[in-house]
């Protein structure tokens, strides 16, 4: 079954499959262990907690003034010659970009890495209009070649090892089979190089959009981002409305946090600041630059003070690298564009809880994600809130609220709550459980699949304490 058909509703089935795939588990475990160690090392000489406070403050400030900043961003961009488009939905985003391409008679598009473009399924929409989009980020290039989706927001092909990639490239492009990652990289680069020259349009994402100056910042390591945004005659940047920051001085701390949290790098090889189309005297640059700002459910999240915190995200991926669930089941298992902890708190807003209700429960609430998040998103708290909505006990404005409610379960919690407020009855309950201790069935699935059943003690702590105090 292709990972493209995976759905969040089938998380249980998909996770069971992933867990029984030793290769997948080995690939993720190894990669995530490496990333965690590198992250820690890169923060070595920094006061990481102070930096996280700063990052959180910058993102919160931007979100507090989001409507104003977006207007300011639009004005600043226009001043720079960047045309701004607003897309309320994924459909809108697809339509705007397709039309921009058609207006230039574009046949082929070269793409830099953009998770928002994945979110709105841009490639498929362009294909419908007869426009071919080629991914130029190496990971994305591989994923596209395999007809898959990214399994990680920073490293899209992290689920594949060198041998997998070698076989794939051999089959699809005829490159020599090799275990040398360097050689494969060179081969891919050579294949891509021409395509930058011939592409009619370049499409990229944005890491930070600066309202003050109308600058679009793009963080990358491969140089494909720079080529995508400078070689083709048209550059279209696509991003979510939350990516705006107020001032230029907000960028360095976020950049420092992003590269370290993501892959333990002090700086990336490329940091692009795009401030408009070619102005005549410059060596290169596109004739047109467009910015497509995508809402797709974000402004609804923004209405809710707690859910709005999700929008602080700078998409570093650290939460997934540190998640004990993600590291075992990998990214495809989630069946959503954004996997891991950020996916669990974001996707219910984008898709509704009807289909995503199994995601917020797929967490032991261990808190590893919240501990590393560079902008201090309280991920566990938001997971609990979403569970609250999913079982129909919340009061938020989220689609599919109550879809996970099971009448028996709700009754059970009500009974539990009543007992816990009536200590006499609670004590009778404890006694009954302890009196029937030998009646606990030997097998209580799924617990006893690999653990012994928990056996109640003969008498409770309260009884034992009373007894000890009497004697």
């Amino acid at each position: 079954m292709s990972v493209k058909t995976f759905t969040p509703a089938a998380f249980h089935h998909q996770s069971a499959q992933a867990l029984s795939n030793p290769q997948l588990r080995h690939n993720f475990r190894g990669a995530m262990d490496g990333l965690m160690a590198k992250r820690l090392g890169s923060f070595d000489s920094w006061d990481i907690e102070a930096l996280r406070d700063l990052g959180q403050g910058i993102r919160q400030k931007a979100l507090r003034h989001l409507p104003d900043l977006l207007e300011q961003l639009e004005a600043s961009c226009q001043r720079n010659g960047i045309t701004v488009h607003w897309a309320e939905s994924a459909d809108d985003a697809g339509r705007v970009i397709t039309e921009l391409c058609k207006a230039r008679g574009a046949q082929s598009v070269i793409k830099g890495k953009s998770m928002v473009s994945e979110e709105v399924e841009l490639n498929a929409r362009l294909a419908e209009a007869g426009i071919e989009a080629l991914e130029s980020d190496l990971g994305e290039y591989i994923v596209q070649m395999a007809d898959e989706t990214p399994s990680h927001i920073i490293m899209p092909a992290i689920h594949k090892n060198t041998a997998d990639i070698s076989t794939l490239m051999h089959q699809r492009t005829g490159t020599r089979e090799t275990n040398d990652a360097e050689e494969l990289t060179h081969a891919a680069r050579a294949q891509l190089r021409d395509r930058f020259q011939t592409a009619d349009v370049g499409i990229s994402g944005v890491n930070f959009a600066v309202a003050e100056t109308g600058t679009l910042c793009l963080v990358e390591n491969e140089g494909n981002g720079r080529l995508t945004t400078t070689v083709p005659p048209v550059h279209i940047a696509i991003t979510g409305i939350e990516k705006v920051v107020a001032e230029f001085k907000d960028v360095p701390p976020l950049y420092a946090l992003l590269t370290r949290s993501a892959i333990g790098q002090n700086v990336t090889t490329y940091f692009n600041m795009i401030s408009g189309p070619w102005r005549g005297q410059e060596v290169d640059g596109p004739e047109e630059v467009h910015l497509v700002l995508v809402d797709n459910g974000r402004s609804r999240m923004y209405q809710d003070e707690e859910y709005a915190e999700t929008l602080q995200c700078i998409r570093c991926g650290a939460c997934m690298n540190h998640c004990p669930v993600y590291t075992r089941v990998g990214g495809h298992t989630y069946g959503t564009t954004y996997p891991g902890p950020i996916g669990k708190i974001l996707m219910p807003h984008l898709l509704g809880l009807n289909t995503t209700k199994n995601l917020p429960t797929a967490s032991s609430l261990c808190g590893a994600c919240g501990e590393v998040c560079p902008v201090r998103i309280p991920i566990p708290k938001l997971l609990v809130r979403l569970r609250n909505e999913a079982v129909g006990e919340g009061k938020g404005n989220i689609e599919g609220a109550g879809s996970a409610r099971r009448p028996m379960e709700a009754m059970g919690w009500k009974l539990f709550s009543w007992l816990a407020r009536h200590p006499r009855c609670w004590r009778i309950g404890v006694r009954v459980v302890q009196a029937c201790r030998s009646a606990v069935p030997k097998r209580v699935a799924p617990w006893t699949d690999n653990r012994v059943r928990p056996t109640p003690a003969a008498t409770s702590l309260k009884q034992q304490l009373a007894q000890r105090r009497r004697s």
């Binding site: 004990p324 967490s363 032991s364 609990v384 079982v391 379960e409 407020r421 200590p423 304490l465």
Partner: protein, 251 residues
Amino acid sequence: MSTVKLYPPKPEKVYFFGTCLIDVFYPGAGLDAVSLLERENIEVLFPDGQTCCGQPAFTSGYRAQAIDVARHQLRLFDEPWPIIVPSGSCGGMMRRHYPELFDGQPEEQAAKSVAERIFELTEFLVHVCHVRLKDHGPDERVAMHTSCSARREMGLADTGPALLRQLSNVTLVEQARASECCGFGGTFSVKHGKVSQAMVEDKCAAIEAAQAEHLVTSDCGCLMNIDGHFKYRKAKVHGEHIASYLWRRSS
């Protein structure tokens, strides 16, 4: 922002909140915790009406039901004594979530007062009692699993290990990925049984790889999970609540 907790001097009396898991499954651990406190010349008050902190309902999304349970517990601790909880997850619930649950409610002050007086057992022994343990037990290699709530909600990664290090015949082993969750997570272990099972298998394998003979933890949920898997596999490692382990070796 992280805050620094200031610790009070050793009190004359403390409240003991035994937790429902200890009450039903591990009463011995509760008794041993009380013994450890009493040995420090502290009178231990055990409020009769205590039941459960409400965390299971809270994390399952039943917030209103959890609030009702929590409200009941708030009434148990009228006098200003510290409240000792032999579990990081119940302690985390009471210290971190009670104030948030009653934010803007009539019980806000009461919730804050309880939260400020909550101490996890090992935290209290180390930072308030400044205990000095004498080890009477044999040489042993021990692994400690600090629960995620103790580690991350309460910021107590070091207090359990600090106590174990006082035991002169105990070697505290280093396990791979010590800070990783054991896979319990309450209803998570049922709702996502397969993932939870994979996690506990890895945790146990890491403890065995460190050649531990014994596993101690300060949370009965983790204990039930980790020791439950060891017992299922009939492994040699024996699991125990840290209170029992400390009491057994130092009394």
